[in-house]
């Protein structure tokens, strides 16, 4: 008797002729994720991935936890593998079901008889197991419409599986099925959430961070690397680019109108980001902007920022309130890191009264007062790179 995990695919099931492509990417992602937890066997059937641990010592809690971070899985069930006999289904499963059944009041039993050779028919399996459960857990009653817990029995080729605990998976599409995108990662709350949201839709994320030494500290950069590590749990490995930005900021301060400082800075960040995208084969930019949150995120400001972009800029947080973003940040575990109190480059030189309704004409005129091109090239050349590995925690703060 051992425990296995069933991963139920979500919308991939609807994907028509491309389904197998999506599924094989997902299986590859799962394999990669579980590699360091031990040896597993995988079996794919009917939009479900069966994960069989091959080693007694594998900690199934850890496996569940890892699988909960894999996009493309909507539901996860732990199931007990028992011998394919009614005796085993009835008698070997009671202790296992205790965890799921002790705290609830109602249940029902569902049976799937994939192997039609099995002598007992589904309704009979349900009735017999239901009766046994009632006998063993006298506090329970049966409710076939809205049970607190559904106990499922699957009779497959070699074994029978009994499960009762279902947990939500991460949902979304498998990473890598929607192309590659470059996330502009600051140290704030929003940008990690934006990266997570796009990764959830299957985008492979790279990240770019702008730093302004000596005004921003090593800690500020480490904080962002830590954020990248935290979202990498969901997003998979992240190529992390860090671009020195101090000289450009000083040049903007010295040469451009103060009220347009932030907008011009963002336009230059976009420019640098898309040039790195070209090098890295990314086809979109991703930012954490939310409509109207700050002066640089008003409609007018976004129009001016976007005018500097040749590629699509995805802003998945655009329609979210701060509180909603915070909720997601807490759920994915980035919030506590995001609120560490270190300055980032966006807050180094801020205008007293930034323009909330800039016109593109003014911005372009303001920016043209200085030739930023050599500085942009230099910044890209001086960028540093590290690969943030999924599941590794190496950044010490």
């Amino acid at each position: 008797m051992k425990e296995i995990i069933l991963c139920k695919f979500g919308e991939i099931a609807l994907k028509g002729l491309n389904k197998s492509t999506f599924e094989s990417v997902l299986v590859k992602n799962v394999r990669r994720r579980l590699k360091k937890l031990g040896e597993f066997d995988y079996h794919r059937a009917q939009s479900t991935l069966y994960v069989y641990p091959l080693d007694e010592d594998i900690d199934m809690d850890e496996v569940m936890d890892a699988l909960k971070h894999v996009f493309g899985i909507v539901k996860l069930c732990r199931a007990l593998e028992v011998a394919k006999t009614m005796d085993s289904v009835l008698n070997d499963t009671m202790d296992y079901l205790a965890d799921a059944l002790n705290g609830v009041k109602t249940f029902k039993v569902e049976a799937k008889r994939a192997d039609k050779q099995f002598p007992v028919k589904s309704p009979e399996i349900c009735a017999e197991l239901g009766g046994k459960i009632l006998e063993h857990f006298p506090h329970l009653t049966v409710d076939v419409r809205q049970p607190d817990v559904t106990v499922t029995v699957e009779i497959r080729e070699k074994y029978a599986f009994v499960n009762a605990l279902r947990e939500d998976g991460a949902g979304g599409l498998p990473i890598g099925t929607s192309g590659r995108g470059m996330l502009l990662l600051s140290g704030g709350i929003d940008s990690p959430v934006a990266g997570y949201m796009m990764a959830k839709r299957g985008v492979q994320i790279q990240a770019i961070h702008f730093e302004a030494p000596p005004y921003t500290s090593e800690r500020a950069r480490l904080k962002v690397e830590k954020l990248a590590e935290e979202i990498a749990l969901y997003c998979g490995d992240i190529a992390f680019h860090c671009v020195p930005f101090t000289d450009i900021q000083v040049a903007i301060r010295d040469n451009c109108p103060e009220e347009l400082f932030t907008i011009i800075m963002r336009r230059l960040m976009m420019e640098i980001a898309q040039r790195i995208c070209d090098i890295e084969n990314c086809s979109c930019l991703i930012t954490g902007e939310s409509m109207g949150q700050v002066a640089s995120q008003t409609m007018g400001a976004i129009v001016c920022t976007d005018a500097a972009c040749r590629m699509p800029v995805f802003r998945p947080c655009i329609g979210l309130d701060k509180s909603e973003i915070v909720t997601t940040a807490r759920n994915i575990g980035t919030f506590d890191t995001s609120i560490l109190p270190y300055e980032d480059c966006c807050t180094v030189f801020t205008p007293k009264h930034p323009k909330t309704r800039p016109t593109l004409e003014d911005v372009e005129k303001g920016q043209s007062r200085f030739d930023f091109e050599p500085m942009i090239k230099e910044a890209i050349e001086k960028r540093s790179f590290r690969l943030i590995r999924c599941g590794e925690s190496t950044v010490e703060l």
Binding site: D61, A98, S217, E396, L397
Partner: protein, 377 residues
């Protein structure tokens, strides 16, 4: 010197001493909360130590909170449970053999309206059913040590906590694992504990440092307020040198826990054989206990007199537990040692530094003591 009092405290490892000294010198003395580089270095030192301890315990770094020692960890666990779940549930279940760091907070709470139930061993051993049966719907906390500090008995914590958690998921479980950590395999998950107390100086780190594991998702209110260190749970500037030393010691000990166990087990078996073969000596620790802690008795030789006699010969042991400072302990008797031997109990506690020659020397000295002291009487 032959040091056989490792359950009282252990000699700090050179690597632990180095780590502590390093954290106090050169550019490593910073305050982890400082924003500058010195602060970062200090903060990273703490972070590495936390991770080391977490991985030894099989949990995440976020689940480890440093304290001033196991007493603070135990107090925080007991009072914390009383202040959270204890608002609604007024029963605390513990054992009759706990260390005072758990027993005393429980006694304090019994004076504040909590009903404290002390489960005792039956026929010299704790039964899972007895612990589970003492817990009811109204129980806020079950606190049970893993290895008894006086006789080395291993309590069935994992099984008891598993059953309790299945029946009463809201009831908090706490384990004082001070005498087990880095000696026997202690894994947070396998123990089914919501909280686990650890001590630095029992694992070859300096005194003044300990840790409390709090399972993710379990909310325990803070008892110490201030600058918000330890993620707001335990304010007070971090003792970076002690944390670094704790981490370094655990890191070194993690490498050879099995090997050390085998060595100490052989010593314990040898001691048992030699003691039982000698006239007037009795080996009192229960079967299947931790080999690190051994309780023996020399009939007719009062503990303290014998302790000082051995001390003269350069052998350091303890009468009962060092924390009870000479008070008579009922604990060996609870685990089945004959009552008449209570006054004559000695605790021999090993570390992996001890050798068979140490036991030879102890046996020789004990024989001499019998010869000298009993004749004098």
């Amino acid at each position: 010197m032959i040091y056989l009092d490792n359950a009282a405290t252990t000699k700090p490892l050179p690597s632990a001493v180095d780590a502590a000294v390093n954290a106090m010198t050169e550019e490593h003395f910073g305050n982890p909360s400082s924003l500058h580089k010195l602060g970062l270095t200090a903060s990273q030192t703490v972070s590495v130590a936390r991770k080391t301890i977490a991985s030894a315990l099989g949990c995440t770094a976020e689940e480890i909170f440093f304290t001033s020692g196991a007493t603070e960890a135990d107090n925080t666990a007991v009072f914390g449970a009383a202040m959270s779940v204890g608002k609604r549930k007024k029963r605390i279940v513990t054992t009759s053999v706990e260390h005072p760091a758990v027993a005393e907070p429980c006694r304090q709470l019994s004076q504040r309206g909590f009903e404290v139930v002390n489960v005792s061993p039956r026929d010299g051993a704790f039964q899972v059913e007895d612990i589970v049966a003492a817990v009811n719907e109204d129980t806020c906390l079950v606190s049970c040590m893993l290895v008894n500090n006086e006789v080395g008995a291993v309590l069935p914590v994992a099984e008891a906590f598993l059953k309790i958690k299945r029946m009463y998921p809201d009831t908090l479980t706490h384990c004082d694992a001070v005498q087990a950590f880095m000696k026997l395999p202690v894994l947070s998950k396998k123990l089914n504990a919501d909280m686990i107390s650890l001590s630095g100086h029992k694992v070859h780190a300096p005194k003044g440092i300990g840790a409390l594991y709090i399972k993710k998702g379990v909310h325990i209110p803070s008892l110490m307020f201030g600058g918000g260190q330890e993620r707001g749970f335990r304010s007070g500037t971090e003792s970076v040198p002690l944390m670094a030393a704790f981490g370094a010691a655990v890191s070194e000990l993690s490498e050879n826990m099995d090997k050390r166990y085998v060595h100490v087990k052989a010593l314990s078996d040898l001691l048992k054989d030699r003691v039982n073969a000698a006239e007037g000596l009795v080996y009192n620790s229960p079967e299947n206990g931790s080999p690190y802690v051994n309780s023996i008795a020399a009939e007719g030789l009062r503990s303290e007199v014998l302790l000082h006699f051995l001390e003269q010969q350069g052998i350091y042991v303890s009468s009962g537990s060092a924390c009870s400072k000479g008070k008579k302990s009922s604990i060996p008797a609870q685990f089945g040692a004959p009552e008449r031997l209570t006054d004559f109990t000695l605790r021999i506690s090993f570390s992996s530094d001890n050798t068979e020659a140490d036991i030879d020397e102890l046996m020789r000295a004990l024989k001499e003591a019998q010869h000298t002291l009993l004749k004098v009487k």
